[in-house]
């Protein structure tokens, strides 16, 4: 489990920073000591399951490692939520204890200040620790999120054990409650790297941190990277030495990959296909969007196998979750991913999610290809296409667009409509609304149809 990995790393590179933010860091040895202290504290207080909400991301790894050794099943809540949402999570996932670094009073659980967990003594690994599990929240609206139960041992086998010749400094532009963030954390640990955090995932904060801490590897969602590229200045580019850029959690457009390649010609750019439920299926680093069809040839024994059934990707994974909290355990079988795809030019291309299909008078419209057409129009920063209820056609495809600064929106709307002429009529967005920002959840575009206004 996680504590053993941390212990091995601390034996090998005790003085190297495991975690860093601007102005502070924690070495592997100090991180291990803190984790062991948390493990003792959790055991002393008899905490077997916990939720945590931590504003300081540098507390997450020590607490998760401590919990894995106690053992105690941890669940990281998003640190973007307020006390009432924390209460809601605690009730839904049956957490009697919420560990936090905020002053907080809860109705449904006892809020435990994280400093109260620091107990003397180094915890010896417990026999139970081999069975330690973790709950990972899926992205979704509060109230509709589910929690995937993972087994630490299985989760760790999913992390590639690559040898690296020098220290990688990873910046994680996810929140650590997200599966993508957790994967970066585990990778950094496995490669004895340093995991760095920006003050927030706002592009400006991330850029400052990359510059200040000489970050070499950075990972975030395509939505994050799109906003990041828009915020970059020439000056920033010269001060950055990114060797690798990783994108995951959403489908990636060719246009974004090309843009990153143009800005960072020296960097290796990879996009990852994976999900909280089935783990990381593959990492694609050939500069092209979509997945190579060769992935469909994987045989039994591969960590994650993929196949296409009626236009939807199905996965069979040995690094899958145990099951959703409050639900039946999942078996070793083929499971629909919810990702709709088309095969073109030897490539598996994502067109949308089963839950996002827009039904316009019986015609099925997938939002992703439409978003790509709009995003390719000069002057568009970000676009989201969704279904709006309509009395005539059931739903209508409509778009929200964030324009770049100082763009004439009336002209831009004409250009967007012009570009959309290439699409089938039902897919052309019938209303185009210019907005200041597009709602995101965990740095992913907020998905699903929204109700009509009013």
């Amino acid at each position: 489990m996680l504590m053993s990995v941390l212990r091995e790393a601390a034996d090998e590179v005790p003085d190297q920073p495991a975690l860093a933010a601007v102005g502070r860091s924690l070495t592997y040895e100090a991180c291990l000591a803190r984790s062991e202290s948390f493990a003792s504290g959790l055991r002393q207080q008899g905490i077997e399951r916990l939720g945590c909400v931590l504003d300081d991301p540098m507390e997450v790894l020590p607490l998760l490692a401590g919990a894995s050794a106690a053992p105690s099943e941890a669940c990281v809540y998003p640190n973007t939520v307020d006390a009432s949402a924390v209460d809601e999570y605690a009730a839904r996932f049956q957490h009697s204890w919420v560990i936090t670094d905020r002053p907080m009073k809860l109705e449904n659980a006892t809020a435990v200040p994280i400093s109260d967990l620091l107990a003397d003594g180094r915890a010896r690994p417990s026999d139970d620790a081999e069975r330690a599990s973790l709950l990972v929240l899926t992205t979704g609206t509060t109230g509709h999120q589910r929690a995937a139960r993972h087994d630490w041992a299985r989760l760790l086998t999913g992390v590639a054990q690559t040898q690296v010749d020098r220290v990688e400094r990873w910046l994680v532009a996810y929140n650590l409650n997200q599966f993508g963030g957790l994967q970066v954390l585990l990778h950094a640990l496995a490669t004895r790297g340093t995991l760095t955090f920006a003050r927030s995932n706002q592009p400006r904060d991330v850029i400052e941190t990359i510059r200040a801490l000489a970050v070499t590897h950075a990972s975030g969602t395509p939505t994050f990277w799109r906003l990041f590229t828009a915020a970059l200045s020439q000056d920033d580019l010269q001060e950055m030495g990114l060797e690798q850029i990783t994108l995951g959690g959403e489908a990636v457009s060719q246009q974004l990959l090309d843009r990153l390649e143009e800005l960072f010609p020296e960097a290796r750019i990879c996009h990852i296909y994976g999900a909280t439920e089935f783990g990381t299926a593959l990492s694609v680093c050939d500069g092209r969007s979509g997945l190579p069809i060769s992935v469909l040839e994987r045989r039994e024994g591969a960590k994650v196998q993929l196949r296409i059934v009626d236009g939807e990707l199905h996965s069979r994974s040995s690094v899958r979750m145990l099951g959703y909290h409050g639900d039946e355990p999942v078996r070793d079988e083929w499971i629909p991913t919810g990702d709709l795809v088309e095969v073109r030019d030897d490539r598996i291309r994502f067109v949308g999610r089963t839950s996002e299909i827009i039904n316009v008078g019986g015609a099925k419209v997938h939002p992703l290809p439409v978003e790509e057409v709009i995003a390719a129009v000069d002057g568009v920063e970000l676009a989201r296409v969704y279904g709006r209820p309509n009395p005539i056609t059931g739903q209508l495809a409509v778009a929200e667009v964030v324009s770049r600064p100082e763009v004439d929106e009336e002209q831009l709307e004409k250009e967007i409509r012009g570009a959309c002429e290439a699409l089938p009529r039902a897919a052309r967005p019938r209303r185009i609304e210019f907005v200041d920002e597009i709602e995101t959840r965990g740095s992913k575009l907020a998905r699903g149809s929204t109700g009509a206004r009013g």
């Binding site: 008078g361 709006r388 009395p391 005539i392 209508l396 019938r430």
Partner: protein, 83 residues
């Protein structure tokens, strides 16, 4: 009368929206009057009517289609806003 002004605003919005639909069809402009029938004369199809409904909802706050009506002519569409 204030109602009158409002109705003229509604009429303007309706005429502008219908004209935009035509422009986008690339078939040039068509004379739209209160007597024009939406389906027979203006030849609107379901997607265009759906768009008209969404546009009117956005710009005038409500639209007859969402309230279960299908006004056959532009004049009756305008009259809806007088109610």
């Amino acid at each position: 009368m204030p109602g009158d002004t409002w109705m003229r605003d509604a009429e303007k919005t309706i005429l502008r929206t219908v004209n935009e639909l035509f422009e986008r069809r690339g078939e040039g402009t068509l004379e739209v009057t209160r007597a024009s029938r939406l389906f027979e004369d203006l030849d609107l199809d379901s997607l265009e009517v759906a768009e008209l409904s969404a546009a009117l909802e956005d710009e005038l706050g409500r639209d007859p289609f969402s309230e279960g009506m299908i006004p056959p002519t532009v004049g009756e569409l305008v009259a809806f806003y007088d109610a």
